[in-house]
């Protein structure tokens, strides 16, 4: 089992992105990095220039690199962007099935957790089409993940599970950041860049519940699969996905690497996860077949 760094879900400023990937390239023990704009096509012009820089830097550091598609493709411009992605010369991670409309059959690709891979039939179809890696949807329990990982192993598809990060729970046509600021999506003034870990949404009782990130809704709690490392490895899960937050991802990746090597997580990994999680709030309910928001200590 190794580590994949997922795409940055939030709207970070270009300099922060440059520094982030430089550090990842130099210091983080991740085998591969998925990058690119996942959530909102309007953000892309602000940091597009960083993508080739980061790709080169990461490749030079020996990392495998994939480029993500947008999570929801509706506009003409977004369709063009997605089509161009296929010709970028870097492997594509599909986050919307639209991407497959442009990928010639047999071209290797990766599948993001935003694609609904719940069963063997779907895994088979994607594998035949060229899928090499599949990161499973967050809400799947360990029992389903194990079945899919075993099927993937038989077919040469690496199956990955969400290991750390605020979980993407929904994508919408509506921008909640704009709505919270009484702006329309078209005149959002890119206000989501004020919340580099997402903007928290609490219940009326003051419980931390969700986080909005433009058109995306995330969990407030950071999903953390540290306690399941042994079970996931035994189930032939081939990688854990770490989703960037503003906390120390390098330190976190190192602790994950150590725990994978040891076959189980110790207190150091959980401490690193809490330190990197916004508000120190962790959840692990999904893998246990419960509500995703639940947390049960290992």
């Amino acid at each position: 089992m190794d580590l994949t760094l997922g795409p940055i879900q939030f709207f970070w400023e270009a300099p922060r992105i440059r520094d982030f990937y430089a550090r990842i390239a130099d210091e983080a023990p991740v085998a591969r990095v998925v990058l690119g704009e996942l959530v909102c096509s309007k953000r892309l012009p602000f940091w597009q220039g960083e993508i080739p820089v980061a790709v080169e830097r990461l490749k030079a550091a020996g990392k495998e690199v994939w480029l993500t598609s947008l999570a929801l493709v509706t506009l003409k411009r977004e369709r063009q962007l997605t089509e161009e992605l296929v010709d970028a010369g870097v492997g594509v991670e599909i986050s919307d099935l639209t991407t497959l409309a442009y990928l010639p059959k047999g071209t290797p690709f990766s599948v993001s957790p935003l694609i609904n891979v719940y069963n063997i039939g779907t895994l088979d179809w994607l594998a035949e089409r060229g899928a090499k890696r599949i990161c499973l949807p967050n809400e799947l329990p360990l029992a389903s993940a194990a079945k899919l990982a075993a099927a993937g192993a038989e077919r040469g598809v690496a199956v990955e599970v969400w290991g750390f990060g605020r979980q993407p729970l929904a994508i919408s046509g509506r921008c909640y950041h704009a709505r919270l600021h009484n702006r329309s999506k078209d005149s959002c003034q890119f206000i989501c860049n004020a919340d580099p870990d997402g903007r928290e949404v609490d219940t009326l009782d003051g419980e931390r519940f969700l986080a909005v990130n433009g058109v995306q809704t995330l969990s407030a709690a950071t999903s953390f699969a540290g306690g399941e490392i042994g079970a996931l490895a035994a189930a032939q899960v081939s990688a854990l996905r770490l989703s960037p937050q503003t906390g120390n991802m390098v330190a976190l990746a190192r602790e994950f690497e150590a725990a994978i090597a040891a076959g189980k997580a110790g207190p150091a990994l959980e401490a690193a996860a809490r330190a990197a999680a916004p508000g120190g709030q962790l959840a692990n309910g999904y893998l246990r077949g419960h509500a995703g928001a639940e947390w049960a200590p290992a």
Binding site: T98, Y118, E139, R174, C175, D202
Partner: protein, 325 residues
């Protein structure tokens, strides 16, 4: 335009057909469909009877098998498709790629519609589904404007079906796990959103709190409407703002947009509400059938009196108007 109407029960199916539905859609009483609610849906014999009844009255029956099969239990979903075909249904409504591939291979003569749960939101992906799985119709996700729907219809041969009335998903359908985050059960896996088994209404003095799982979704005063605690329609706090962060407690009513939808090349109009009673179904279907007939005949649209049936008694045209975003 074809009016596609909900039937949560055999009685609602008959009510819809008698009220003028061109088609009704329904599901089996299990986790294979996205309205897997207590006391709802059809047994195999009930479906066969429903199909016979509808066909006698010149109406079609579409069966939603639109959840995502559970790994290892794919056979349950495969059986649902086979049984729907055996019952003589006019189409199945599917969302999962694996199930679409299965149906295309093993039931090639059974018409396949793409469920809204597949959230196919542009012409390229719709044409892709048509090419790969032979889908005849797509139910469009509720994230598109009328102009975008018109653009899609210009670029595809696949028929489009759009929601015009009832509950409104704010998120791209089939791509939302808010419900399972709070309750462990989701539309994709279990065919339920914000399931009743996880709902609790708690009287707190003069206020009524609605809880979902361990979370308070909203609180209302004694005289306020009490919407069902669907997570995305809840009342939350973010920074200084407290309110309906995602969507108000409104339901969709696109009656006024019917002429535009027709002009946009839409084939079918869908009414949400398999969980609603047969009296609701009859009333809404009758009203929409009158509107569609008027539209086809070039008469002015009758004004509708559907407000009281709506959730929270307020309605919206949702994403069809760009300002909604």
């Amino acid at each position: 335009m074809e009016l596609v109407c909900p039937a949560g029960t055999p009685a609602a199916l008959r009510a819809a057909v008698e009220a003028g539905a061109h088609s009704v859609y329904c599901g089996f009483a299990d986790e294979t469909n996205a309205r897997n609610f207590p006391g709802l849906n059809f047994s195999r014999p009930e479906l066969a009877e429903g199909v016979a009844f509808a066909h006698r009255h010149g109406a079609k029956v579409l069966v939603a098998i639109n959840t995502f099969p559970r790994a290892g239990d794919e056979a349950i979903w495969h059986r649902a498709v086979a049984d729907a075909e055996k019952a003589g249904v006019d189409a199945v409504i599917l969302a999962d790629i694996g199930l679409l591939a299965h149906a295309a291979k093993h039931h090639p003569k059974l018409r396949r519609n793409l469920s809204v749960q597949a959230a196919a939101a542009n012409a390229d992906v719709i044409n892709f589904y048509a090419r790969e799985f032979g889908v005849s119709r797509v139910v469009l996700p509720r994230v598109l404007t009328v102009a975008e729907i018109a653009a899609i219809n210009r670029e595809t041969e696949v028929e489009t079906e759009v929601f015009v009335f009832g509950g409104l998903c704010v998120m791209a359908e089939g791509r939302c796990s808010l419900s399972s985050y709070a309750t462990g059960q989701s539309p994709n896996m279990n065919g339920v959103c914000s399931p009743a088994s996880e709902v609790e209404y708690v009287q707190e003095g003069a206020q009524l709190a609605a809880r979902l799982g361990n979370f308070t979704i909203h609180r209302v005063g004694a005289s306020e409407p009490a919407p069902y605690p669907t997570l995305c329609k809840g009342c939350f706090t973010s920074g200084d703002e407290t309110g309906h962060i995602f969507e108000d407690a409104v339901s969709l009513n696109a009656t006024e947009l019917l002429p535009q939808l027709k002009k946009a090349g839409v084939t079918a109009l869908k009414i949400e509400g398999r969980q609603r009673s047969r009296s609701y179904v009859a009333q809404v279907v009758r009203s929409f059938r009158a509107a569609v007939d008027a539209l086809e005949a070039g008469r002015p649209m009758p004004t509708s009196a559907l407000a009281a049936l709506s959730e929270g008694q307020a309605s919206t045209t949702g994403a069809y108007a760009k300002t909604w975003r």
